[in-house]
C-alpha cells in the first residue's frame, strides 16, 4: 500500500513537471532540508530516492526517460471537434497613411462560430509588428489580450479587443511601411491572423499595412529672438525660440519618455552669408529653446563691429523620411565695435540767450583716446530740425590724446535758416571710430531752447534793409527808364 501511494505521488509530480516543460529537478542534498525537514517520515525518504533515480535516468538514459514522459502525458484537449477561432486585425479607418503623431486604435477581431460554448477555450492574442526596415515580425510592446470563452457576442459570435498601449506610432525611430498581425494561442494551437482573408469594407485585415510618415519638429518663426540685439562681443547674448505645437510634443514626451523624444536643435550663426558657428543642444519639445554665450564662446573680439544673423535647424532623428526643418533667417546681434575713443560733455550754446536762427552757435565735446596711443578720427556735427532733418553742419579731424580729454569745438556755426524759426532742434555727432559705447555716433541731444520765432534778422532802419529798399526803388526806376527806352521811345518818335 505504501509503495502504491508513493508511485502515485511520483506520477502526479512528474505530470506537473512535464506539463511545465523541460525543468531541472533540484537535488535535495543529504535528505536534510526542504520537504524532509518537517518531521521526516519513511515515505519522504522513498520519494527522495525515487527523484534521484529519475534524475539519473534523465541523464543516463534519455531515450527511455522520454518514453516514460509519454506514459505520463495527459492531453488537455478533451475533444477533437474543437476548431480554432478566426482572428483578424481590426482597423476601421480608411486612411492608411498616417503620421507618427496621429491617434490610432489597433484591434483584433475574433470570431468563434464553430465551437459551442462547452468546448471554447480562452484565446491569447499577441500583437506583432514589422517596423520599417525590419525583415521579420516581432512582438509589439503591448500586453497579451485574453479573450475568455464567455466574451463573444451571442449573435455574431465575435469578440473585438483593442491593444490599448498602441495609441500612435510615435515610438517608431524609422518611418515607412508598418505591418501588423495578430498571433493567437489557445494552449494547443498557435496561428496568425495572416491565414485569414481581408474584408477592408468592415476593417478586417489578415495583415494591417500602414504607411507612417514623420512630422519633424518645427520652430515657430515668430518666437525667434536674440537679446540684446546690439551688444559688445563679450556681453551675455541669448537666443530663444519655441517649438510649434507644444501640446502634442508634451504628450509625446510624457508617454514615450523624455530621453527618447528630445529634439536636437542646432543654432547656426552667420556673418553675411557664411556660417561662422553652430552649436547643437537637445531640448524637450515643451522646453523653451535657449542658447547663450554661456553655452559656448560664440563671439570673439575679432567679431567687434560685425553684424550677424542666425537660424535654427531642428531634427528628431527619425529615419526613413524628412526629419529636419529650418527656420527663417533671424537678424542679430550686431556686435559693437571696440571702443577707440571716450567722448563726453557734448554741449551747444548760442551767442546769446535769444536763440535766433541767424545767430552763431557753438557746439563741442571732449574726446580722449581709449587706446594705448593717440587716435586720429573725424567728427561730424549734425543738427536736426523739422525743416532740415539730419543736416551736416561741419566736420573736423582731430587727434585724441591718451592722457587727458581734449576739447573739440565747432565755433560760430550757422546751422539754421528762416525755416527753422520757432522750432526745436537736436544735435548729434558722428565719429569715424567707435566711442566708449561701441557706437559711431552720439545720441541726439535736444537744444536747450526753441529757436526764436523772429524771422527777419535786420531792423527796417538797419543799413542792410535801407540798402534793400533803396535798391528796390532803383530797380523800379531803372526798370521804368529801360522799358520806356526799349518799347516806347521808338514808337512815339
Amino acid at each position: 500500500m505504501r509503495g502504491f501511494v508513493a508511485i502515485l505521488l511520483i506520477l502526479i509530480y512528474l505530470s506537473v513537471i512535464i506539463a511545465q516543460g523541460d525543468v531541472d529537478i533540484p537535488v535535495i542534498p543529504g535528505g536534510g532540508g526542504g520537504s524532509s525537514s518537517g518531521g521526516g517520515g519513511h515515505s519522504y525518504t522513498d520519494i527522495d530516492n525515487f527523484i534521484r533515480q529519475v534524475e539519473s535516468w534523465k541523464t543516463n538514459d534519455p531515450d527511455r526517460f522520454d518514453y516514460l514522459k509519454t506514459l505520463f502525458y495527459k492531453q488537455n484537449i478533451t475533444t477533437s471537434k474543437y476548431v480554432p477561432p478566426g482572428v483578424w486585425m481590426y482597423f476601421p479607418s480608411k486612411n492608411k497613411t498616417i503620421s507618427r503623431y496621429d491617434d490610432v486604435a489597433i484591434g483584433a477581431l475574433v470570431q468563434d462560430d464553430k465551437n459551442p460554448l462547452e468546448i471554447r477555450r480562452a484565446l491569447y492574442l499577441t500583437l506583432e509588428i514589422q517596423e520599417p526596415g525590419d525583415k521579420s515580425f516581432k512582438p509589439a510592446k503591448t500586453a497579451t489580450q485574453i479573450i475568455q470563452v464567455n466574451e463573444y457576442d451571442d449573435k455574431e459570435k465575435t469578440s473585438l479587443r483593442n491593444f490599448p498601449e498602441i495609441t500612435s506610432f510615435s515610438f517608431l525611430k524609422q518611418v515607412g511601411d508598418v505591418r501588423l498581425r495578430v498571433k493567437a494561442t489557445d494552449g494547443q494551437n498557435n496561428y496568425y491572423s495572416t491565414i485569414q482573408s481581408d474584408d477592408p469594407a468592415h476593417g478586417y485585415y489578415h495583415e494591417l499595412l500602414l504607411h507612417v510618415y514623420n512630422i519633424p519638429p518645427q520652430i515657430n518663426n515668430t518666437t525667434m529672438s536674440v537679446s540684446p540685439n546690439t551688444a559688445k562681443w563679450d556681453d551675455y547674448i541669448q537666443y530663444t525660440a519655441s517649438l510649434e505645437d507644444q501640446s502634442r510634443s508634451q504628450n509625446e514626451a510624457t508617454i514615450a519618455g523624455k530621453e527618447e523624444n528630445s529634439v536636437q536643435i542646432t543654432l547656426h550663426i552667420y556673418n553675411r552669408s557664411d556660417e561662422v558657428f553652430n552649436i547643437t543642444k537637445p531640448f524637450l519639445p515643451a522646453d523653451t529653446i535657449s542658447f547663450s554665450t554661456k553655452d559656448a564662446n560664440i563671439f570673439k573680439e575679432m567679431d567687434a563691429g560685425k553684424n550677424f544673423s542666425y537660424r535654427y535647424s531642428s531634427t528628431d532623428g527619425i529615419k526613413g523620411g524628412n526629419n529636419t526643418t529650418w527656420t527663417k533667417l533671424g537678424y542679430g546681434p550686431s556686435i559693437k565695435p571696440n571702443p577707440k575713443i571716450r567722448v563726453t560733455d557734448l554741449k551747444v550754446s548760442s551767442e546769446d540767450n535769444n536763440y535766433y536762427w541767424w545767430q552763431g552757435y557753438n557746439f563741442g565735446l571732449k574726446a580722449k583716446s581709449q587706446a594705448a596711443e593717440p587716435v586720429s578720427f573725424r567728427v561730424d556735427l549734425y543738427t536736426d530740425t523739422p525743416a532740415h532733418p539730419g543736416r551736416l553742419i561741419a566736420a573736423q579731424t582731430i587727434i585724441a590724446p591718451t592722457n587727458d580729454s581734449m576739447d573739440v569745438l565747432f565755433k560760430d556755426m550757422n546751422p539754421f535758416d528762416v525755416a527753422d524759426a520757432n522750432q526745436t532742434f537736436d544735435y548729434y555727432f558722428r565719429y569715424s571710430v567707435p566711442d566708449q559705447n561701441g557706437l559711431m555716433y552720439s545720441y541726439a541731444i535736444e537744444g536747450p531752447k526753441q529757436i526764436n520765432p523772429k524771422l527777419i534778422r535786420y531792423t527796417l532802419y538797419s543799413p542792410i534793409m535801407v540798402a534793400n529798399i533803396l535798391l528796390i526803388m532803383g530797380l523800379a526806376l531803372l526798370g521804368g527808364i529801360m522799358i520806356e527806352r526799349r518799347f516806347y521811345r521808338r514808337r512815339e518818335g
Partner: protein
C-alpha cells in the same frame, strides 16, 4: 474771409474794373468813329489813330510806378505768412535767409509782372491826359515807397505785433489803394467821358 483777403480782392477788383473800362472805352470809340466816318475802321488803325504820345518822362514814371505797385502789393500780402500762410516769402527759406532777400523777392516780382508793367502805360496813349494828371502821376511812386516801407516794417518784426503794426498795415494798404486809383484814373475818366 478776413479783412486782409477782402482788401486784396478789392485791389484786384479795381484792376479788373480798369481793364474792363478800357475795353469798353475802346469798343465805344471804335463804334463811334465807324458811325461818324461811315466806313469800317479796323481796330489796329483805330489804335494807331487814337495813340497820343505823352512824352518819355511820363512813360518812364508811369512804368516805374506800376513796377513799384506790384512790388508793394506783393510785400503787403505775400511777405509774411499772416495773409497767405502757404504762399509767402518765408516759404523760400534760402532767399528769406539772405541779407538781400527783400531785394531778391522784389526782383522776382518785377520779373513776374514786367510785361504787365510795361504794357499798362501804353494804354494811357489812348486817353487824353491833362497836364495836371501828368503832374499827379508823380504821386504814386512816393506813396508806393511808403507802402513798401510799411510792409517791410511789418515783415521785419514778424511774428511780433505792436501797436504800430496795425497802423503800418493800414497805411500800406491806403497808400497802395490811392496809388492804384491814381494810376487807373485816366482810364476811368476816359470811360466816363465817352459815356457822357
Amino acid at each position: 474771409m478776413g479783412w486782409d483777403s477782402v482788401s486784396f480782392l478789392l485791389l484786384l477788383a479795381f484792376l479788373v474794373a480798369g481793364l474792363c473800362s478800357h475795353i469798353m472805352y475802346m469798343d465805344k470809340m471804335h463804334k463811334r468813329i465807324s458811325v461818324l466816318s461811315n466806313i469800317k475802321v479796323s481796330k489796329n488803325r483805330l489804335y494807331m489813330g487814337l495813340s497820343i504820345p505823352h512824352g518819355s518822362n511820363f512813360n518812364s514814371v508811369a512804368i516805374s510806378a506800376w513796377i513799384l505797385f506790384f512790388i508793394a502789393l506783393a510785400y503787403l500780402y505775400f511777405l509774411t505768412p499772416a495773409v497767405f500762410d502757404r504762399f509767402n516769402y518765408f516759404r523760400l527759406p534760402v532767399m528769406a535767409s539772405s541779407p538781400f532777400g527783400f531785394l531778391v523777392f522784389a526782383t522776382w516780382i518785377f520779373l513776374l509782372t514786367v510785361l504787365v508793367s510795361a504794357y499798362l502805360p501804353r494804354i494811357y496813349s489812348f486817353y487824353e491826359i491833362s497836364k495836371g494828371f501828368k503832374t499827379a502821376i508823380l504821386l504814386p511812386s512816393p506813396l508806393l515807397v511808403i507802402s513798401l516801407l510799411c510792409s517791410a516794417y511789418i515783415g521785419t518784426i514778424y511774428p511780433m505785433f505792436t501797436s504800430l503794426t496795425d497802423l503800418a498795415w493800414k497805411a500800406s494798404f491806403l497808400t497802395l489803394l490811392i496809388s492804384e486809383l491814381v494810376l487807373l484814373s485816366p482810364i476811368f475818366i476816359g470811360y466816363a467821358e465817352v459815356n457822357r
